[in-house]
Symmetry: C2
Subunit: 611 residues, 2 copies
């Protein structure tokens, strides 16, 4: 470092502050003070340590800079301006309708990997990117994550600390901006840097405590982080919120609002500057690792055989992994239940064990797909509710994720309601752009697993614990948005719409009904979202409908069916069978019967509708 470096960094820091104040003033909202605390940290990082080609954001050798404290978006955008990626004119579109400079960063900007703004997500996602660098890309890029001190209260941060150390991610640096003040007051630890350091050390990290406004100390900290082997580094920086402007510096009550007098603040900061940061580019010529592959040989199952769709999921995923080197599997310490263990056995080098840390599991998947890998993530469907905020944010990140939830519904049996997903269809339907699939047999599952690998956005597959009969041949196709009419006749007077476990109950009900002289049509809605509106509209025109699902009545298959013909001119009567009382333990068949979603209940409902 030279005196010139230090002087330039101090000036750059002031410029980033000024531009944060300016953009927030133009927007009449935003978080300038949270940006000002971290400006020096980012100035030194971008000027000396970051390796990033702003002209080639897709370059696999680029470093990754993630603002886990996404509300410091003015700082992100001020950096992009300083790096020459956006103009000053665009900077001042911050938070305006149609601008890609949203209130919190999103990947509408090509230099932003993931959306942040829900705290405690950037670091866990950074762990995923760093893991991809080490294990899959096998490239030397580094991952830098700017964290807020308030978000250190999120458990997901400690999942990230645990995993980063466990996987020895020395390519990951967390920069903790300890500005002491949260939204409403002081954090639990204020400026007690040691409290963060001892926690991080206990979790296996190297730590460095610095004055986050001393550019020399900042410089030395980054250099030290680069030198550490086998463990991640946390730079714990004491900073002042609103640094540089007396009216807001280290003042409570100045969170999340523009400065009252931006002109005075800009003057106090030394006025506007137009320094350009010449961000270093990746220097080597390495290419991402490519895993060897062979032909795709999806598993097939004999008609009439009994196979659990969760087993078919694992078999198909292993087969897909053999054919495609981009496929990665992640599981939450239940791979022998979800059957992702089949992938683990076949491709251990592409399997990530997330232990019982569902938030980190989803975040790792998001981070891994940032680098172009195709992650399949699995656990019990019920426990995906633990990571719902990560799924929600992944949609805002425009992430492509394939997620599988096993052990859905009361049909799991004895384990009881804590292990029964009864809200997962509602949860995943209410994700923007999502696909929700619910196969009923092995061959259908295998084909849909293959399909999921190429879907955009969040795709979810619900699998069943128990073995069910194979009803489709291995050559049948199951397009997303389609359905199968699995029982039909010209005399059909009622339609039963089912999926997954209840499809088999529906078929049994149709047999019972036929024996009683009532012809029923049965539709397999394996694609719950998008749903096959055309087929359902056709059925709706022909008579009443029974929907049946192993799920609460709200937000699942039944309501998806109703929505399909909401604006049709005429509607049939629809009886919605679903789980309406809190289940307990019991045998699967007992619980299906107790919930009123078994073959008998379906047949009864159908008869009442037609008779």
């Amino acid at each position: 470092m030279t005196a010139t470096d230090a002087e330039r960094w101090r000036e750059l820091g002031q410029q980033l502050r000024v531009d944060s104040v300016r953009s927030s003033a133009a927007a009449s909202s935003g978080h300038p003070t949270s940006s000002m605390s971290a400006a020096d940290l980012i100035a030194v990082l971008a000027d000396r340590y970051l390796r990033y080609d702003f002209d080639r954001p897709e370059d696999p050798r680029n470093d990754h800079l993630i603002f886990s404290k996404g509300h410091a978006s003015p700082l992100v955008y001020s950096l992009f301006k300083a790096a020459g990626a956006i103009t000053d004119e665009e900077l001042l579109t911050f938070r305006k309708l149609g601008s890609r400079l949203e209130g919190h960063p999103t990947p509408l900007l090509p230099w932003v990997d993931v959306a942040t703004g829900s705290l405690g997500q950037g670091l866990p996602i950074g762990v995923g990117v760093a893991l991809a660098g080490k294990r899959f890309d096998q490239l030397d890029y580094r991952v830098w994550v700017l964290c807020g001190d308030s978000e250190m209260a999120e458990g997901s941060m400690w999942e990230a600390f645990e995993h980063a150390a466990f996987y020895g991610l020395d390519n990951l640096t967390a920069i903790i901006d300890v500005n002491r003040l949260g939204q409403t007051g002081e954090t639990m630890h204020g400026w007690d840097l040691d409290s963060y350091a001892k926690r991080a050390q206990a979790f296996g990290w190297h730590t460095i405590e610095i004055d986050g406004h001393d550019v020399d100390e900042i410089d030395e900290a980054y250099a030290e982080a680069l030198s550490i082997d086998a463990k991640p580094t946390a730079i714990i920086a004491k900073t002042k919120k609103g640094k540089g402007v007396a009216a807001v510096e280290d003042k409570n009550g100045a969170h999340g609002k523009p400065l009252d007098d931006p002109e005075a603040a800009i003057a106090e900061l030394g006025g506007a500057r137009n320094l350009r940061i010449d961000v270093g580019k990746p220097e080597d010529n390495a290419e991402p690792h490519v895993f060897e592959t062979g032909p795709l040989e999806l598993p097939t199952y004999e008609l009439g055989a009994e196979v659990a769709t969760r087993k078919a999921y694992g078999d198909a995923l292993a087969a897909l992994g053999a054919a495609r080197g981009d496929i990665v599997a992640i599981d939450g310490e239940v791979s022998n239940s979800t059957f992702s263990e089949e992938f683990k056995k076949a491709h251990p080098e592409r399997f990530v064990e997330s232990y019982i840390a569902e938030q980190q599991m989803l975040a790792a998947a998001v981070g891994i797909q940032v680098r172009g890998w195709t992650p399949f993530t699995s656990t019990f469907a019920a426990f995906l509710s633990r990571a719902y905020d990560f799924v929600r944010m992944a949609a805002i990140s425009r992430a492509d994720l394939a997620i599988c939830g096993s052990h859905a519904g009361v049909s799991i049996g004895e384990d009881g309601p804590s292990q029964m997903a009864l809200e997962d269809l509602a949860m995943f339907r209410a994700v923007h752009g999502s696909t929700v699939l619910y196969p009923c047999d092995g061959n259908q599952t295998a084909k849909l697993v293959e399909t999921m690998a190429d879907l955009d956005g969040i795709s979810y597959m619900r699998t069943t614990r128990g073995a069910t009969a194979v009803i489709y041949g291995p050559d049948e196709e199951f397009p997303v948005g389609g359905s199968k009419v699995v029982r039909s006749s010209d005399e059909a007077v009622v339609t039963i719409v089912a999926a997954g476990i209840t499809l088999h109950e529906a078929l049994a009900a149709a047999d019972t009904l036929a024996a009683d002289g009532v012809a029923a049509r049965v539709i397999d809605c394996y694609s719950v979202k998008p749903i096959d509106e055309e087929t359902l509209l056709g059925a709706a025109a022909l008579g009443p409908i029974v929907t049946v699902e192993d799920h609460w009545p709200e937000g699942g298959l039944g309501e998806a069916v109703l929505a399909a013909f909401a604006d049709a001119p005429e509607h049939p009567k629809v009886t919605m069978l679903a789980v309406r009382e809190m289940p307990g333990s019991g045998k699967p068949a007992e619980l299906l019967a107790a919930a009123g979603i078994d073959a008998d209940a379906i047949a009864k409902a159908a008869k009442e509708l037609v008779g």
Copy 2:
């Protein structure tokens, strides 16, 4: 301790093991090996340290014993048998249909505070109970939480560690059963007790490392825990999964299944025993603290005034707190946004700051209501998705929780999608027995806040960021399950169903339509669940319907309306207006317009429906 004590504890431990093996064998499922590792820990605790009157589970002075590792339910039930609370005959109903001895513990049993089985929840809930003991009850009961080592990977555990230390909960003891083996293999830390101890110490806990099968060491550890002031204690116990039966002891692959040869195992454990534990009862005569109260003076707002429903929430909660000493407020470091700060200002002694730890926030609420207090929990509605698994489990716990999510929908404006709840209605509707409320004005909000305090189960209120016009007088009543027809005429040819922010857009649309000669009915569905089926059925008979919501189309108001008349003989055509594209930043009115849910969009949809 005497030689007799030690001998009795060893025998008791064996009995708890035998009964765990027996009940799991009778069920042909269950987790005996996870129970066997902790049997000695529980034997000593129950025999010497626990203060609990099994005949009076409602006694406020009772200790609380929570199995955070809920899969060790055979151990729970074996303890209850040894304590004389259940018979051996009932023990053997484990996991059978209709038995209250479910696969994982639930409060169907009067001695179980909360349902567990989703890992990482028992300790955070225990923090809530301990906090209630210190701050609200002001009683000397202790909270003992048996934790698994696998669940230490859950971030929620570290939220609990952080909060327990921050609040100085020396009435809380975590007993960590380090049996080394998870479901699929070894945990990250195996038998490295120090790795847990140094983490817990870094978070401010006192720690004790012991051999979890040495009853002397166990006894000393509990005695030491009782002696520690101002900080919680973690007893970190090295144990063996399946302890005592060579076929499964410390063996991988023996998780979650009954023993292959239970008879041989029972013999190896020394055979069945029928020892009775005489669990100590609470000794003092203290009564829970009672906070002083006055009359209820709910806030009222003038017709036509502009007030944000989030502000009315805070005002009403403060008023309710003045009238009812059982009311407690908990917030996730955004009390100046949710306006729970009004309660905090008025009743600081009953306000709990959870910082940015939404899982711990919900868990604290669950723990606090265990002791009969009435918690109101608030944060941005979007961030409640962080705690969905806790809400799901709270329903299984039969917990009574009032939850408020502010800043819902695109109408928040500039902050962008990461801060916009667009899935919260779907999420909370799909909770068993839940109530979902969405007020549109200040007076309605105040009345509904009062109502929520007495509702069973999970109740959710969605509030709006911006100020909206007061349209109801202060004396209007808003029963759960009701609605208000706020615009009506005999000539009405179309019905608009709205709630919250969109109710105001619907009213403006009705004005526009009226000016164009189209009479519209407007229904305020403030009770989204249960929904007012009767009123909606009546409207449905009269013509087409437009539903409009600031939410994704899935699982929200629109689908709730469709479900209300699913089985009616005839249906009207329904146009569902909802947020269908990923929003960005912008002004609230711009974003409502961009999403197609503003007055213009409603008027247009209504006109298209009526032709």
